[in-house]
Structures are given as structure tokens and as C-alpha cells.
């Protein structure tokens, strides 16, 4: 633990902010729900075990993916609800009681002397452990009629505050063709490695960092392909699902309702993949995805406060990458996802999220720049600081599984996010603090993330009625340069979490 004078504290505002933000994010992730789409309601409807559709629930295997692509239909001419027992209602709940221990380094805290604040700060590692809950998901999904499918997922955080995580209707197999399917509503983008079906639950390991990476200080929250989005999706696939394509048009709102952001700005997302038979190795799949969109950087203000739904001055961003799903026999598989991301320089300087949303359709921003401490808003006459660059980066996700049996799966994941161009590039004025809160040229590795996750899930039983998994997981995350430094230079942050829980649904 170290202490500093008041004058030196002024130079560490940024790192304090970043540490606090990291803690808030970690808290939200830990206490937030982990929506996932494992539906024993489908197993009950069709009499198939969880393992038929899930490599290990909720992660889909190829058969489950085809079932989903067909609009939650087996295509056996008995998919319509008219064939079900009238008492059947396709509802599943999922919740996870857990014990976890979270340890975060380089957090700035106050110091005291004789019971009184010293006015000084200290940096230390904070660890906390205890029993906890995940959020609660109520999945209801299936068919309204043959080739008319739906999904409604009210989801709560661990305090019971609900929002609609997923809501859509889908027209399946239009004109009798599997190549014509239209989805409308709030849904997960067509990611082959689905974050909503992720096998891990910790705060940092329970998401794919590659799907959510935002450079430090960047104001573009709209390129997170892991978040459910509002829009319309075309999807087509071959009868055996070996070939898949999709195209989505979504509001640039990161899935937030009420159009507080994303009014009049849109993003397109495209995917394509091809699977091929590799004999005893199994079925392999390779594909790509690409996202191109624009989002507002200026929100009209009233009394200095940005007004929801008034976004203009759109700027562009892109995300693109490759996906590979490789099987090495019946027990081992590896999924690889890459990403190259790029944001307009305005986003890099912190513009874009002047309307801070609370995730439930509400807004939290009460002021905007140039007021110090308020979100950057590209009001008329604003200019970019000299030397501003369009931030870009590359991300890699490698996730492997050893499937001992349908009841026991071991999981290992490595992710790396590497900045290739910083917003405050080499030409940035040294010592100048930009609207993104970053001072001077930043180090080339500033904000890079490296994370490992290992774990296993054991299902003591496997039926077509319910799911239960004993879950054990460890995640370690390292980020370059974002720790509280108290003016002593850049400091890396290491965060770790150990989690044990009962993950069940019925």
C-alpha cells in the first residue's frame, strides 16, 4: 500500500475512474443475468434428451443448430402446437445459485488515520467471496403454427428487476424453402459461437471479450456483437444445415429499447458459413461475419442535457472476422473466432454514448460535455484534438472442449484483444487530456486484454425433462495500463474469479 500527497492525486483521476468503471462493470456482470437458451421445454415437447441438441447445455451442437435454424422445429410434421397436449406450455426457467470469490488488483481506496480520512489514496487488491445468485430467465419459445415460431425471454438481474432480453417472431421456410426465414424483434445476432449459450458463468469469463471489446475511452457501445439487438434478420440454410447465411439490419442502439440511442442510425450484420464432412474427425465448419454501422455522436441538448432520440452526426464503425468450429473425433472440439474492429476517430475520443442507458430502456445521463466529468457530446463547433486517430484492434478467441460424455464437459478458453491503433496516437499532444479522458499519446498496448477461463460442467442426470449442472470455473483476466497508478505510471490490472454453482433449468 502506498500513500500520496493531494497534488499527486490530481494526476491520477483517470486511473481512479477506470478502476471504478472496471469494478462497476464487474459488479454488473456478476449480478446481472446470464441469459441462455437451454430449453427443456423443447426436450419435453419432442422427447429428446438435452444432449441431442446440446454439446453440453446450453451450447448447441450441429443438430441443435439445425433445430434452431428451422424455427425450433424438427420438421417432422408434428411441430405445430395443435399436435401437442393442450396442457403443454413451452416455458423454462433458469437460475444459478453460486459461491464465488472475486479478486481485483490495483483498486484505489481512501485511507484513514485515527478514524479520520487522510485525504490520501491507496492502491490495493480487493477480494470478496460469498454466496450469490445469478439472474432469473423465463424462456418461452416454440411454434405458434407450423413455420411460425417465436421467442420471449423476460430476464431479471439477481435483484429481480426484469427486462426483455429476447423477443421475436419468425417466419420460417417461406415458400417451402429453408433459404427464406425472417426474424423480427430483439434477438441474438447469428453468431456461430453463441454468447447466449456460453458454458461459463463468471463475470469476465461469462462473456466473450472479443464480442464486447471497446477501446478504453471509446464512446461506441454499439458494435458489441454479443449483445442482443433490435432489428430484422434474414437467414437461410441448406436442408442439412451445412451451408448457412444471414443478414441483419439493426438499430444502432446496442439492443436498448425506446430509441434513446439508435434513432435513425442503423447497423448491418452479415454471416456465412460452410460445414463439411471430415470422416472420423466429424463435421467441420468455417465461416465469416461482418458488421458495418453508424451511430450518432451528437445529441441535441436541453439545459445542457442530451435528449434521447435526437442523435445526429453519425459516424461509422466496422467489425469483421472468421469463425471455425473444428471437431477432432467425438470428444474434442475447438472453436476459433477472430475479429478486426475499427471505430471512427470521433468514437475514439469518447463521443457516441452521450445518452447513457441503464439497460432497461431508461437513461442515466444528466449532463454532457464540455462540462467536466460528463459524457462527450459532439455539439456544433466541436473539433477533434490534434493527432486523433480511428482506433482499431484485433481480437482472438479460442475455446476448446473435452466432452468425456454428454454428462461431463471440460472447458478451456483463451482470449486476446490487442490494440493496433490507439485513438490518442503518436501525434497526440503530450500532456493533453482528450474528451475520452485519456492524456497524451497512449501506449500501443494500452487497454489490451488477455483472459483465460477453465472449468467443467457435470450433469448428474440426463433426461428430456430438466437440466442440472454442477458447475466449477476459474477465470483470470489481465488488462494493460488501466490500473489505478496514483501518478506512478501505467499499471496493469489482474482480476480473477473462482465460481462454484448449481446451474439448473426446468
Amino acid at each position: 500500500m502506498s500513500t500520496l500527497t493531494r497534488s499527486r492525486r490530481l494526476g491520477v483521476k483517470l486511473s481512479t475512474f477506470l478502476s471504478a468503471a472496471a469494478l462497476v462493470v464487474a459488479f454488473l456482470l456478476l449480478t446481472g443475468s446470464q441469459p441462455a437458451n437451454a430449453l427443456p421445454a423443447f426436450a419435453r415437447k419432442y422427447g429428446l434428451r438435452c444432449s441431442a441438441c446440446h454439446e453440453s447445455w446450453p451450447m448447441l451442437n450441429y443438430f441443435g443448430q439445425k433445430f434452431k435454424d428451422n424455427g425450433y422445429q424438427l420438421m417432422n410434421d408434428r411441430d405445430a402446437p395443435i399436435w401437442q397436449n393442450p396442457g403443454y406450455w413451452p416455458v423454462t426457467f433458469r437460475i444459478t445459485p453460486i459461491w464465488h470469490r472475486v479478486s481485483t488488483g490495483k483498486v484505489e481506496v481512501d485511507t484513514y488515520s485515527g478514524g479520520n480520512p487522510t485525504g490520501l489514496s491507496a492502491v490495493q487488491r480487493i477480494s470478496s467471496s460469498g454466496f450469490d445468485l445469478s439472474g432469473l430467465d423465463f424462456h418461452t419459445a416454440g411454434t405458434l403454427e407450423k413455420n411460425y415460431s417465436f421467442y420471449v425471454l423476460p430476464s431479471s438481474d439477481s435483484t429481480g428487476a426484469f427486462h426483455f432480453e429476447q423477443v421475436f417472431g419468425r417466419l420460417d421456410n417461406l415458400f417451402g424453402s429453408p433459404w427464406l426465414n425472417i426474424k423480427f424483434g430483439r434477438f441474438e445476432l447469428d453468431n456461430l459461437l453463441s454468447e447466449k449459450r456460453i458454458l461459463t458463468l463468471t463475470g469476465n469469463g461469462g462473456i466473450y471479450q472479443t464480442y464486447h471489446f471497446i477501446p478504453v475511452g471509446d464512446g461506441n457501445i454499439f458494435g458489441q456483437i454479443g449483445d442482443n439487438q433490435l432489428g430484422v434478420e434474414y437467414m437461410g440454410h441448406s436442408v442439412d444445415d451445412r451451408t448457412r447465411i444471414s443478414a441483419s439490419l439493426i438499430s444502432s442502439s446496442d439492443g436498448n429499447v425506446n430509441l434513446s440511442t439508435g434513432a435513425n442510425s442503423y447497423t448491418a450484420f452479415f454471416t456465412g458459413s460452410q460445414a463439411f464432412d471430415a470422416g472420423r474427425l466429424g463435421v467441420q465448419r468455417i465461416g465469416f461475419y461482418a458488421m458495418a454501422g453508424e451511430a450518432a455522436t451528437y445529441y441535441l441538448t436541453a439545459g445542457g442535457v442530451p435528449q434521447p432520440g435526437t442523435g445526429v452526426a453519425n459516424k461509422g464503425f466496422t467489425r469483421e472476422g472468421f469463425v471455425g468450429q473444428f471437431y477432432f473425433g467425438p470428444h474434442v472440439d475447438l472453436t476459433v473466432v477472430t475479429q478486426h474492429g475499427s471505430d471512427n476517430a470521433w468514437f475514439g475520443q469518447g463521443y457516441g454514448n452521450a445518452i447513457l442507458t441503464d439497460g432497461n430502456g431508461g437513461t442515466t445521463a444528466t449532463c454532457s460535455s464540455p462540462t467536466p466529468g460528463c459524457p462527450a457530446n459532439n455539439v456544433p463547433g466541436t473539433t477533434l484534438p490534434t493527432g486523433s486517430k480511428a482506433p482499431s484492434w484485433n481480437g482472438y478467441t479460442f475455446e476448446g472442449h473435452y466432452v468425456y460424455s454428454p454428462q461431463l464437459i471440460f472447458i478451456g478458453r483463451y482470449e486476446a484483444e490487442r490494440m493496433s491503433q490507439q485513438a490518442n496516437g503518436s501525434g497526440y499532444t503530450p500532456g493533453f487530456t482528450g474528451p475520452n479522458g485519456l492524456t497524451g499519446p497512449t501506449a500501443s498496448n494500452f487497454g489490451n486484454i488477455t483472459t483465460y477461463t477453465i472449468g467443467y460442467r457435470y450433469n448428474p442426470f440426463m433426461t428430456s425433462r430438466a437440466g442440472f449442472a454442477w458447475h466449477n470455473e476459474y477465470n483470470w483476466l489481465h488488462q494493460d495500463g488501466t490500473g489505478a497508478t496514483l501518478g506512478l505510471g501505467t499499471v496493469n490490472v489482474n482480476t480473477s474469479e473462482l465460481l462454484i454453482g448449481f446451474d439448473f433449468d426446468f
Binding site: Y46, G47, F63, M75, R78, A278, G279, S405
Partner: protein, 292 residues
């Protein structure tokens, strides 16, 4: 002094104790099938191995077909006619969809096709997402449940002559065949599965079974190509009341019947267009033979 009652009680008790192991011997276990784990299948260039299918069978199939392949998986009790049919009992080695004559074992390709195609109007989905090797392995696994595969050879697939051109005369001839071999008794005069015998049908295990409804729009269980339909009534669906008509219908007549059946189906077809022009009436069950 031992009474007569005591003596009888002792005898009965001893009998019961001796009978218990015998009863458990009658109950098959997985160990009974292990000697046949070396079973192979041959599908095209692929050789399937039963032992390699164990994980896939457990993952995908066991919920319906059961650990012992007897069709008594946990879901079997909930699959009841008329909505669903019971899962297949692999121990009996009796299969509906075959290219081989009635009463014979199917070819490996038949089982492979069944796994790939699935069965409409049942809980058996299309497993075409599995690799061909996995499906070939599963065919071998299915075979390992019955000793028939060790002692019998599959039948020789029937010969299907080339499909002739559809004509109005052939459709009319097919209608005559439909009347002559009394397809209508089960399938109904309009193919609506409402013939006079329909409600009385049971499978070989005594379970109720419904005839195929041509007008529902569903695909025939054993495939929906013209060749598949030809094969169905020339090989019969073993284990069901649908017999083989190989001895009653000549191959050329069989094609006529295929064309007529197409006119009963909901799906659009060249045959339906031709039949519309013919103003074809349903068969008359009361008409004298040859006077439809």
C-alpha cells in the same frame, strides 16, 4: 411335527428363491450385447463400427430407443398413436423401410437412409447433421442389438424398372390397381386414411396403427420419391398391416399405382394436373371387379 401347510410353504418358498435368478437371466442387460460390438456396416465406401457409435447413440438415440435398443427409452410411454408411433425395437430387427423383400433384413443402406431421412409424423428427426461416418457407425450399432444380423444375411434389394412416362392412361390404370388390391380398405377411397379397416389396424405387437393419409401433405415415411413409393408397396412395411404386393402387382402396374397415388397427395404434381383433365372419380368399393 411339520404340517402339510408348512411343507407346501417351504416348497413354494424354495421355488420362488430358485426362480429369482432365472427371472433375472431372462432380463437382457447391456452385457448381453457386448459380444456383438464388433458388428460392422457397409454403406458405399464407408465401414461403420458399432463400438464407435456408443457415444452418439447415448447422446442422440437412447431417450427413445432405450439403453437396450428395445424402444423403451424414457420417452416411449409418451409417444402414443395417433400422434406418434412407438420407437423401433432394434432387438426384433424388423424394419418398415427396406429395399429388400418382406420378411428379410434390410440392407445397411436402408438403415443409413432411415437415420438420414428421419420419419415424418414421428419423433424420429432427420439426423443428416451427423457425419456420414457417424451415421454408418450408428447403423452398425443398431444391428448389434439383434442376433439376426449374425445368422442371417440381408435380403437382395428388389429390382425397380425405369420409371415410365406419366400418361392419363397410366393414371387410370393405377386407379384400377388401387381398386383391385383394395388399397381403399385402409387408406380410403380418397386416400384420407379412413377406409373401413382403418380403425381396426394394429402392428405386429398389437399396438394401434393408422394408415398413411395421402391428403395430409406429409411425406411418406420411407421417402417421397416415386421410387420410394414404388418400393413401399412392393416390399411392404414389415411389422405393420401394410403387406408386400410383389406377388399381386406387376412392376409396370406398380408404376401406374405410383402415378395414381400422386393424384391423391396434396403436393402439386404432373399427375394431379393430368388427373384434373380426366375428371377422375374416386374408386367405387361396390363396383364389380374390372368395372371401375
Amino acid at each position: 411335527m411339520r404340517t402339510r401347510l408348512q411343507t407346501w410353504s417351504l416348497l413354494l418358498g424354495a421355488t420362488a428363491v430358485l426362480a429369482l435368478p432365472a427371472a433375472s437371466w431372462a432380463q437382457l442387460t447391456q452385457a448381453d450385447f457386448e459380444p456383438r460390438l464388433g458388428m460392422e456396416s457397409h454403406v458405399g465406401n464407408l465401414t461403420g463400427h458399432a463400438k464407435d457409435a456408443k457415444a452418439d447413440y447415448r447422446r442422440y438415440c437412447v431417450g427413445c430407443h432405450g439403453e437396450l435398443g428395445d424402444g423403451n427409452g424414457e420417452n416411449a410411454p409418451y409417444m402414443q398413436p395417433p400422434i406418434y408411433q412407438q420407437p423401433r425395437d432394434f432387438q426384433l430387427a424388423v424394419f418398415k423401410c427396406r429395399s429388400t423383400p418382406t420378411g428379410t433384413l434390410p440392407a445397411d443402406q436402408d438403415l443409413f437412409d432411415a437415420i438420414t431421412r428421419g420419419f415424418d409424423r414421428t419423433n424420429m428427426p432427420q439426423w443428416n447433421t451427423l457425419s456420414k461416418q457417424e451415421r454408418a457407425d450408428l447403423v452398425a450399432w443398431v444391428k448389434h442389438y439383434s442376433p439376426r444380423w449374425a445368422t442371417e444375411k440381408p435380403g437382395t434389394p428388389i429390382t425397380i424398372p425405369p420409371e415410365p412416362e406419366v400418361t392419363a392412361d397410366r393414371i387410370k390404370a393405377g386407379r384400377d390397381v388401387f381398386a383391385r388390391v383394395q388399397c381403399w380398405k385402409c387408406h380410403g377411397v380418397l386416400g384420407q386414411a379412413n377406409g373401413p379397416s382403418a380403425s381396426t389396424l394394429t402392428d405386429d405387437l398389437g399396438r394401434p396403427i393408422a394408415p398413411f393419409n395421402f391428403t395430409e401433405g406429409a411425406r411418406p415415411k420411407c421417402g417421397d420419391t416415386d421410387k420410394d413409393i414404388f418400393r413401399i408397396f412392393m416390399t411392404g412395411l414389415d411389422g405393420t398391416p401394410m403387406p408386400s404386393y410383389a406377388d399381386n402387382i406387376k412392376p409396370d402396374e406398380a408404376w401406374d399405382l405410383v402415378f395414381y397415388l400422386r393424384t391423391l397427395m396434396r403436393q402439386d404434381s404432373k399427375e394431379k394436373v393430368l388427373a384434373k383433365g380426366l375428371n377422375l372419380k374416386p374408386v367405387d368399393p361396390n363396383a364389380p371387379a374390372g368395372q371401375q
